[in-house]
Structure formats: C-alpha cells, structure tokens
C-alpha cells in the first residue's frame, strides 16, 4: 500500500507540470495562511480614519503631559525671577511674574481643551463640506 502510494507520488513529481502545479498550490496556501495571520492580528477593525484619530489622540495626550510639566516649570522659574527682582530692588518684576503665570496657565488650559476646541471648529465648519459629485471637463 505504502509502496504503491510512494511509487505513484514519485511518478507525479517526475512530471514537471504536476510538480509546478503542486508548488504553486503550496505557495498559494502559504499566502492564504499568511494573510489570515494579518487578518487575525487586526483585532480592532475600524479603518484608516479610526487609526488616524487614535494616533492624533495619542500625540495630543503626550503634548498635554508636556504642557503640565511646563506649567510646573513656568510657575517655579517665574517665582524665582520675581523673588530675585524683588531682592535686587525692582519689585515691579513681581507683577510681571503674575502676568507670565497667567499666560502659562492660559496655554495649559488651551492645551487641555485641544480636542474640544478642534471638535467645535470641525462641527461648525462641517456644514461647508461639499456634497455634490465631482465635475469632469
């Protein structure tokens, strides 16, 4: 039985056409299995727009973290500046410190509300979006 199958397989693989077909079939099977792997890897199917939105949100989260660090640095350095200016006999610099801290806080609030601001602008301008077809000459 085994010898019969072996002899028949040898006969098939001796033929160049059959061998090419078998190799092609195995290659196609390999491609199918590889693509199945990629499809399984995509466990969050949402398309390109969701991926872009996720990437932007990740970047904006990083920027907000940097803004928080800068808020702390800005408050500390500006108060040191105000202290030095008061110490050296120019107390008007302390009022500048308050203005600078207000600016730093304003920018931090702006960075925190980035997504809200962007969504508001986009929702407002959405009505201007073109809805008609594309004309060709």
């Amino acid at each position: 039985m085994f010898h019969t199958i072996k002899a028949r397989a040898e006969g098939w693989f001796a033929d160049l056409t059959v061998r090419a077909r078998v190799i092609g079939f195995l290659g196609a099977l390999l491609l199918i299995l590889t693509n199945q792997g990629i499809a399984f890897a995509a466990d969050n199917p949402g398309g390109m727009s969701d991926a872009i939105a996720s990437l932007a949100k990740m970047l904006i989260d990083g920027i907000i973290a940097l803004a928080a660090i800068l808020l702390a640095i800005g408050i500390a350095t500006n108060f040191i500046t105000g202290m030095v200016e008061t110490m050296v006999g120019r107390p008007g610099g302390l009022s500048t410190t308050w203005m600078r801290i207000a600016g730093v806080v304003l920018c931090f609030v702006g960075a925190i509300f980035t997504i809200t601001i962007a969504n508001t602008i986009i929702d407002t301008l959405k009505s201007y979006k073109s809805t008609g077809g594309i004309s060709l000459p």
């Binding site: 390109m48 727009s49 872009i52 939105a53 990437l55 932007a56 970047l59 904006i60 920027i63 907000i64 940097l66 803004a67 800068l70 808020l71 640095i73 800005g74 350095t77 500006n78 500046t81 203005m99 600078r100 600016g103 730093v104 304003l106 920018c107 931090f108 702006g110 960075a111 980035t114 997504i115 601001i117 962007a118 602008i121 986009i122 301008l125 959405k126 201007y128 979006k129 073109s130 008609g132 077809g133 594309i134 004309s135 060709l136 000459p137």
Partner: protein, 94 residues
C-alpha cells in the same frame, strides 16, 4: 448573461469615470480627516509653543498662535470645499 453584460456596458458608457470619481471621493474624505487631525495637532502644539515662550520670557508668541490657528482653520475650510472649488473652476474654464 448577455442581457447583464449589455446593461453593464451601457452603465459604463453612461458614466465612464464613475469608479474614478468614487476613488477620488474616498481620497478626499481621507484628506479631510487628515486636515482635521492636523487642526487638533496645530492647536495642541501651538499652545505648547506659547507656553514654552511664556516660560522663557517671550510672551509675544501667543499672538503668533492665533495667526497659526486661523491659517489652519482656513486650510480646513478649503479642504471641506475642495470639490465645490474644483467644480466651479471646471465650470468656468470648460
């Protein structure tokens, strides 16, 4: 079978650029989404930049931020109305 083929051929003859229009519409949708994302990123980076400038003692950068956000909004409006602008130009020129 022949009837279906005839219908398909007549549809293709009716709008030979239908698929091209569809592809361009998809591309425009993607471009508009990218512009919207860039708007959000410009706002975030602009405020961060202004904050850095405040920390280092050059608060005039905050005024440049408003110009930057205004320019990005104008770009968004142009991206939204790209098809209308294109149609108008095609209508004028041809």
């Amino acid at each position: 079978m022949i009837r279906q083929t005839v219908i398909l051929v007549s549809l293709a003859a009716f709008d030979p650029f239908g698929e091209l229009r569809g592809v361009i519409a998809e591309l425009l949708t993607l471009v508009i989404q990218i512009v919207a994302v860039l708007l959000a990123l410009a706002i975030a980076t602009g405020f961060l930049e202004a904050q850095v400038s405040y920390v280092v003692g050059a608060p005039s950068m905050l005024s440049a931020l408003w110009v930057k956000i205004g320019a990005v909004i104008i770009c968004l409006v142009i991206a939204f109305t790209a098809v209308s602008i294109s149609n108008t130009l095609v209508g004028i020129l041809f």
